[in-house]
């Protein structure tokens, strides 16, 4: 399993709002022996706004990166961000149609041929690397920490496009956390939208949608939420005080990236996992894991 090597697309939030996701993703993959080769000079995939403007433009912004990944000789490109993943996958899928590909290529410097396969880092770890191998590498159990795994709305949906896990009740992150020694609780809202895309222009929507999620996580008895999306994580962590206030929720819940907790279980030093970047303090959870 040490020869797993993929092109890596970090996505814009990795260099801005989710540095801790980026750092812990790299640390975890390194520890597992998964080689992430960053796409040289990658650019923005268009994120959520581009597809709301035009599908060819959106595919071209992603297509530039797919072409660069193909040039590296890889057949898989992995990204930590589900929002990037949807764009890359949509672009790759639609470019199977030569007519559409022609339109995209008219916007690009260098034409993009048949595309490489975009996957989430989660999918690469769970499917290509394998849970059994992860289990073998766990050094420090998460000590039964109760976690609510939150996948976000688009990691597995729509199923024909994403082709990963169950669209309504995905379990890959739950299984991974279990392998790391945590205790995933049933979390009925694991694929419900948190409202991230309207966060700034329509804060009222985020308060309501993220409020529902936090409430459900609290009621599930979780000690922490585990996220796999930089936008969701930011909504639930950075905005948590606002959201709690708007919805009358008392208790604060730390919101980890799954790579941060997995990194702990693999025995990586805390400084590589950047817990200091989390807004809701993870101290109590970390102590619980350490067994203090």
């Amino acid at each position: 399993m040490s020869d797993l090597s993929v092109a890596y697309y970090p996505g814009c939030s990795a260099v801005g709002t989710s540095v801790e996701y980026e750092k812990s993703t790299r640390a975890v993959c390194k520890a597992l022996g998964i080689r992430l080769e960053e796409i040289p000079d990658w650019s923005c995939c268009g994120s959520s706004p581009a597809h709301t403007v035009n599908h060819v433009l959106s595919a071209a912004l992603s297509g530039r990166n797919l072409a660069l990944a193909a040039d590296m000789g890889h057949d898989t490109v992995a990204t930590p961000c589900p929002s990037c993943l949807v764009n890359l996958r949509t672009s790759a899928r639609k470019m199977e149609d030569p007519l559409f590909r022609g339109k995209v290529n008219e916007l690009l410097d260098a034409p993009c041929g048949p595309a490489v396969e975009p996957k989430s880092v989660l999918q690469v770890i769970v499917e290509d690397y394998g849970l059994d191998h992860v289990r073998e590498r766990v050094r420090k159990s998460l000590n039964g920490l109760k976690v609510a795994c939150y996948y976000g709305c688009i990691m597995t949906r729509p199923p024909e496009l994403m082709r990963f896990d169950d669209p309504e009740n995905p379990m890959s992150m739950d299984n991974l956390m279990e392998a790391a020694g945590a205790e995933p609780v049933p979390f009925p809202l694991k694929v419900e939208c948190c409202g991230a895309s309207s966060g700034i222009p329509r804060k009222d929507i985020v308060m309501r949608l993220s409020g529902r999620l936090l409430k459900a996580a609290e009621e599930s008895g979780a000690e922490a939420i585990v996220a796999a999306c930089p936008l969701c994580q930011m909504n639930l962590d950075l905005r948590q005080r606002q959201v709690r206030k708007a919805n009358g929720i008392d208790r604060g819940l730390p919101v980890f990236y799954f790579t941060q907790l997995l990194g702990l279980a693999l025995g990586l030093p805390e400084r590589d996992l950047r817990f200091d970047k989390l807004v809701v303090s993870p101290k109590r959870c970390l102590k619980r894991i350490a067994g203090a």
Binding site: S47, T52, C153
Partner: protein, 185 residues
């Protein structure tokens, strides 16, 4: 509730939506599954199954004027749950494109945010969050909304204060330039 004038059926509109989305709206039989799972329904002026019905009946103006198109979070719940395999979220996307092109923008700030975001990408090759926020705030005066986040944002270094441009910035700029050229044709 607004009444619908069934005589004003714009057949060309129906055709255009179907063509651009690659979906057959005629297949919708109004089961309401899409609306039942739509997390944004509470904020919509027209629920998504009704949008589908209004497209079926060619009500172009009512549809393109709807706030729902702009509020849709593309969460894919409707598409995942439609019993007739209609990619409903894609239709919402296409309707938003058409609303843009015809000057309908019933949620101005959402459109403005998307525009500002893409301008940032065009200029830097990657999103430059601090610049994006500054520009959005300058145009809407809406910062007060989130002022309470400032301490956390700053102490946790959540917003990079410098852009992270790609080396071949022009390559991305060119994509936008060519796109605008093509759109004019």
């Amino acid at each position: 509730m607004k009444t619908t004038n069934m005589n004003a059926r714009d057949a060309e509109f129906i055709h255009e939506v179907e063509e651009r989305s690659g979906q057959q709206v005629v297949r919708c039989y109004q089961c309401g599954n899409c609306t039942a799972g739509c997390p944004y329904n509470f904020a919509y002026d027209i629920p998504v199954n009704r949008i589908m019905r209004l497209v079926q009946t060619g009500q172009k103006e009512v549809v393109l004027d709807s706030k729902s198109l702009w509020l849709c979070g593309s969460c894919q719940s409707c598409t995942t749950r439609c019993p007739n395999n209609i990619d409903v979220a894609r239709i919402m996307d296409v309707l938003r494109h058409m609303a843009r092109e015809t000057g309908h923008a019933s949620e101005r700030n959402i459109k403005l945010f998307a525009d500002t975001f893409l301008e940032s990408v065009e200029k830097h090759g990657r999103v430059y969050e601090a610049g994006l926020m500054a520009s959005y705030v300058a145009q809407t005066g809406k910062f007060l909304n989130d002022l309470d986040l400032a301490p956390a944002v700053l102490t946790k270094g959540k917003l990079s204060l410098k852009p992270h441009p790609v080396h071949k910035r022009e390559a991305v700029e060119e994509i936008f330039l060519r796109f605008r050229e093509k759109s004019k044709q």
